[in-house]
Assembly symmetry: C5
Amino acid sequence: MRQHFPRSFDLHILREAETLEIMRHRNRARKSGLPPGTLLHIGDRKVDHAKITRTDYDPEVHECRELDGNKPLIAPAHLEKLSWIEVTGLHDVQLLQGIGDAFGIHSLMLEDIANTDQRPKIDVGDSQVFIVVKMLQLRGDIRTELDIEQVSFILGRGYLLTFQEKDGDVFDSVRQRLRQKGSRLRKHGADYLAYALLDLVVDHYFVVLEGIADQMDDLEASILGEPKPDLTTRIHHLKRTLLQMRKATWPMRDMISSLLRMESPLVSGEMTPFLHDLHDHTLQVVDAIETHRDMLSGLLEVHLSNINNQLGAVMKVLTIIATIFIPLTFVAGVYGMNFDVMPELHWKWGYPIVLLFMFGIAAGLLVYFRIKKWL
Amino acid sequence: MRQHFPRSFDLHILREAETLEIMRHRNRARKSGLPPGTLLHIGDRKVDHAKITRTDYDPEVHECRELDGNKPLIAPAHLEKLSWIEVTGLHDVQLLQGIGDAFGIHSLMLEDIANTDQRPKIDVGDSQVFIVVKMLQLRGDIRTELDIEQVSFILGRGYLLTFQEKDGDVFDSVRQRLRQKGSRLRKHGADYLAYALLDLVVDHYFVVLEGIADQMDDLEASILGEPKPDLTTRIHHLKRTLLQMRKATWPMRDMISSLLRMESPLVSGEMTPFLHDLHDHTLQVVDAIETHRDMLSGLLEVHLSNINNQLGAVMKVLTIIATIFIPLTFVAGVYGMNFDVMPELHWKWGYPIVLLFMFGIAAGLLVYFRIKKWL
Amino acid sequence: MRQHFPRSFDLHILREAETLEIMRHRNRARKSGLPPGTLLHIGDRKVDHAKITRTDYDPEVHECRELDGNKPLIAPAHLEKLSWIEVTGLHDVQLLQGIGDAFGIHSLMLEDIANTDQRPKIDVGDSQVFIVVKMLQLRGDIRTELDIEQVSFILGRGYLLTFQEKDGDVFDSVRQRLRQKGSRLRKHGADYLAYALLDLVVDHYFVVLEGIADQMDDLEASILGEPKPDLTTRIHHLKRTLLQMRKATWPMRDMISSLLRMESPLVSGEMTPFLHDLHDHTLQVVDAIETHRDMLSGLLEVHLSNINNQLGAVMKVLTIIATIFIPLTFVAGVYGMNFDVMPELHWKWGYPIVLLFMFGIAAGLLVYFRIKKWL
Amino acid sequence: MRQHFPRSFDLHILREAETLEIMRHRNRARKSGLPPGTLLHIGDRKVDHAKITRTDYDPEVHECRELDGNKPLIAPAHLEKLSWIEVTGLHDVQLLQGIGDAFGIHSLMLEDIANTDQRPKIDVGDSQVFIVVKMLQLRGDIRTELDIEQVSFILGRGYLLTFQEKDGDVFDSVRQRLRQKGSRLRKHGADYLAYALLDLVVDHYFVVLEGIADQMDDLEASILGEPKPDLTTRIHHLKRTLLQMRKATWPMRDMISSLLRMESPLVSGEMTPFLHDLHDHTLQVVDAIETHRDMLSGLLEVHLSNINNQLGAVMKVLTIIATIFIPLTFVAGVYGMNFDVMPELHWKWGYPIVLLFMFGIAAGLLVYFRIKKWL
Amino acid sequence: MRQHFPRSFDLHILREAETLEIMRHRNRARKSGLPPGTLLHIGDRKVDHAKITRTDYDPEVHECRELDGNKPLIAPAHLEKLSWIEVTGLHDVQLLQGIGDAFGIHSLMLEDIANTDQRPKIDVGDSQVFIVVKMLQLRGDIRTELDIEQVSFILGRGYLLTFQEKDGDVFDSVRQRLRQKGSRLRKHGADYLAYALLDLVVDHYFVVLEGIADQMDDLEASILGEPKPDLTTRIHHLKRTLLQMRKATWPMRDMISSLLRMESPLVSGEMTPFLHDLHDHTLQVVDAIETHRDMLSGLLEVHLSNINNQLGAVMKVLTIIATIFIPLTFVAGVYGMNFDVMPELHWKWGYPIVLLFMFGIAAGLLVYFRIKKWL
């Protein structure tokens, strides 16, 4: 299953190989019908050229270079220091296949890396641990759009491979700490590096959650202040964002539990407290999402009830106005009739009496409405 | 329990046998009262003649022929290569019984095959693994109808039996790959063939899910754009489709877990990563269904709230118009009264003053409504 | 605990015994305060006389007779063939007590048999397995009423006791098959008989479910066709029926799981596939009930939304009509005023101009409403 | 931890002890800040004087006397027969402390006895089993108020202590059966007595449930008959009662499961079927509560929908009446105008023609409404 | 990992250390990107100066002094009595780091202490048990605001460290009991002290719950008395408070279960009944929160239904008034027409007849409405 990549291997050859289909469909559905393990990128093509960045380090040395995708990669057996190999851009399936062959990655894992539609999960093999997580970021002018990117990790003996679709991630602080001589990252193994990256991913969930919480505070202020019908759409948008976030984070609970329970020589026992910490943070995220969802439902209830109360109040006052004038108009109509014999019309004080009478009706209705607490 | 099929066995004889009742009722209910294990097709008769297609293959040879249902079948003991026997059309219970006898299938399994109302499940016997799944397809002009067909698998030593109700399935790509010499399917056993078919079934769930997601996107655009009452019916239809889909896929989670955990000589250890992959995909489908259901509920909420807001807005503006004119009409009514003594009527500027007064009332009410933010 | 029934025992004696109270209250509540194990029928008295039917059979012989409740029963030790003893009518507590003594039934089991308010359950004793299930049937002119009857089974070595409240059950097909020489029932033990009866009970749940599904299809057609307020009551009725059905079937899942897991010499290993099948069917019933409940909730939503839309549509059009005429009436009112100086009244074309003006207002409002999409 | 009560111990001394605070606050909140194990009655003082009733019995002898709280209690070591010691009234904390010392009750158990706010639970100690349950009764003129009283049991070797807040319980039938020589209670140990009392408590839940079911039947009849707005309050009241009942009974499931699983020399193996029976009954109660809650929600839905339909019907008919007359009034207004030139006014048949025209409009609108099915 | 604090260590030095960043951001989000284990206070700075209070005690001696944060702390190895070290104010990260070094606290634990956004949890190390809980208090004029403060415990051999953000806690009664010679606290170890503090925290939840229950009683009285639209906001506020409370207490169930199950030499076996008691109380709190939430949902339903009923009632009566007068006004309008030929106008009794006719219409409509039960 594990076929090491020949040194003189040229990716150009692979590119011409007929058994490999180059397809960049967006929809997972189009993948249906292909044999299992077929490499096919599912997702948007977000970078022009796939990029490989390789960082070799030990406590003394730190070396970072960008590899040309067309040049041979050095297989893990040749690594002397720890290596972090970052792959950005997953549309180049030959490149992926080449890396897969060089590092002996199972074809199903490669398929999962290319397919950015995965659930967060962990697969523990004999010589590799495979982890898929979702990296979340808020984007847009007012940071209301949730950007979900899949990041895959392959942790092997002495190396860590990470795969992401596009430039721009949350890992800069790790890159910076790696450059600092004497930092903890430089002293520990690839497992600690993987942990540090996972920790950043989970930590960034809190950034996203706070962005959402800020929007919810805005929303609550608007709702309690002055109800507007279009708030429903905003609540809906937030609910949807939380739903997507839940889908991305919920399976991470189980994933990190598995990470905690697994016994692999690739992860040293010293990692346990760190992984526990990661687990706690994930639980916190999941809790917070649920609480936010409940609060959003509560907000929606308040909002709908407010809209309804507002409409009810408008209708009530308007109907009261109408109701008061309807009997008065009737009275005016009566004395507008043209009967020959209508004695009131000829009374000297008829007109003022009728006006007073009308005023009395209006006042009586108002008093009645007030007693009934309808006003 | 396992009685092998005599070579000279003639299905005509079986057809005359009195112990076998030929009933093709649609309703499962009519089955009630029959002894357990009675063969009775439950479902629609969707093909005219039951059809048996037999594919024998090994890495070198590939042979596919259609068997005449009336000719003797060759029992599994006579198989030298791997055989995939596809049975299409389940209404012919004698045929089923014949196959059952030839391959030593337990009567309860045969009953479950004929009864297309089954829950997805797995039964592990000593020499056979029995799997029932649901194959989903969208049909109709705009692909909104969910077509659910039951597919049963019997995996034995060296052979795989599949049973489906009608022509037209999602297995064409496997048939094509089987014909390619050197494909992985040709090199592996019947367990890999079964896996490949199951994988296609699950993969096609994603096709269905994307069809549903497309409809939901349409729906959301309509709802956020311009609310129409009949959208409720469309939401209801989608909800129902998701409900059916959930019913068909939910038990597959447990089924594939069992498949993973079972220890059967019929499934080689090499299958484990593939089955894990299948399990992951099933979880993804189940997750996606739940997320879609939640989103649909959210859409319904938004839709109902929109409809309500729209009605409220209409009512409010209309009531405001009415309210403004009611006091004016009253005033006109007053000066239409026929009292002898109504001094205002004889004033030179009475008419313009009253008109101005009316205009003042209308303007005042409009200002009041605007201050109250009812306009 | 197990006191065998003396041969010369006369039930008359038991009937005079003072320690046994004859009470036939309907309400379980009245039972409160009696010592545990007190025999007291809870339920309606549905037959005039309790009836005992005894069927003795082996592969060769089949003998069925109705026992006179006053004659001594033959205790299980004396049975040579397999015996199925059916007791119909539970109000006769002495009879129950007599049977209980004859077969050594624990007093709490007897109490559960008489109390038709039980949850489905299984109790595995050393020499007896006690099973309580609910038999469901639809009755009424249009088969909309759910009839729930408790059936209790006591499976012992060589005999099966069944207890039901009234005549009329779903077991006729078993009785018929028992009479057929050579049928599987005749060849197997009492455990197979118990299974066959349980299977009929569960199979009949599908009949009930299809009756409910038919009613739901009717309902859906009505709702999508033309909303009528009284459909709410029908939905409520169906919901209630499903609730009762769920209450009756939900505990059967656990019950049949226990049956599967239990190890009792009374149930042979050959039964396992049959019990698995029964378990699958029960899961299917429970699934279907939940799906039906969800669909019913969806129907209710659609229905309420339809009713609301319909009312909204009515109100909107009516209000529009009113709104158009209110300004017109105001204009007519103005020219009905009796001011001395109203120059328009004396214009030659005053009247037609005003009519045209009114027509213009009405047309303008209609156009405005149409632009605003309120019409 | 277990300090036996000296024979000559005088409760008066204890009463003067300064370390014991006599506080009878109602609120549990006030207890916050006291050391754990502080005896403090939380609940209403429902009897004037705490009362101790002691019943000693064996198969031959039955002796029941009321102990003077000020006289020394006899410690369990001195008991020769089985003793049931009933304590009524928990406000007298010295008395409780005295009993606690005499029987070696852990201070936390004593605290739980005095604090009537406990969850039902079981604590199994070396020489004592401590059980807390809730005794439910319906009170009020129409038996709609739920009365929840905490009853605590301490089962020791040869004695059973029960603690309740006030007179009036559901245990009279046990007291009566204890007096009957030869009854099963007299022959069994204290564990059977405890079971018999627990059974009565659980049995009485059914009485309460039937009271609630009766109210629900009333409610349903009212709702389906004629909707009145105040039914909402009644539904709310019932919901609340069920919520309280659920809170009281839900933890009993786990409690009785623990009772079943525990292995204590204080409970003989013969009790197992009885405890199983108790467990079944508790499950039944919990099931029934959930079903009742679901039915109540269904009723509320029907009720709200009815109220809404009724209001909608009223509004619709009234609006229709208004709509018919508004155009007519407009026409009348037109011919009430005072233009000099209005030829119709001078036609001979003008008046009847207009009346006919009006009638035509009204009839046309009615026909239109009927066609549109708004009437 | 455990580096003991040098005696001559000066915190001033630490304060100048460049590796430690002093940041007092409120948002957890800003922490994202820092290496794991970075000390950074997340929360509000609530005290001006961090304060350390140290209480040394044994059964004989009790000594309490406030430590100057700049003076060296005495490391645990030097403790002879039991020490309770309270740290108030978490913004001073150097101080925290100093304590962490002195007591050998893992950097991740220190991070969790400083980050007041934690979930309640327990971490059991070899020589320390780390517990995080939430202390809840109601504040505000009418005690409606929930104040959540994180309290962390570190239980070591012979010492207990507690960390809180600000002055004012629920621990005064423990401080007082510690001063009393002979109290149980003085006789037991640090584990009992930790338990006593946890018990106070949980006990105070009941105080909060009763505050909430009081508000709910108020609310219910208002709702059942007289519905006002603004009650929705109050219900929303209470729901939110319960949601926060649930988030704070829910994880404590698992936390205290872990505490019960863990086997640590730091917690003596004598603690078991006390911890069980704590567990029971936590379950009670969680139950009560759920029940309160359900009751609140019920109240909201009743409230919305009341508001709706009230509005419906108002609209109905008003519309009825309007409807009665509309036909009357029409009649008046008819006799206000100016046709030359209108014989009724010239009848002697025309006017009174029309008035009577109008009265008849009004009475008829009223009677009709009453028959239809709309009044």
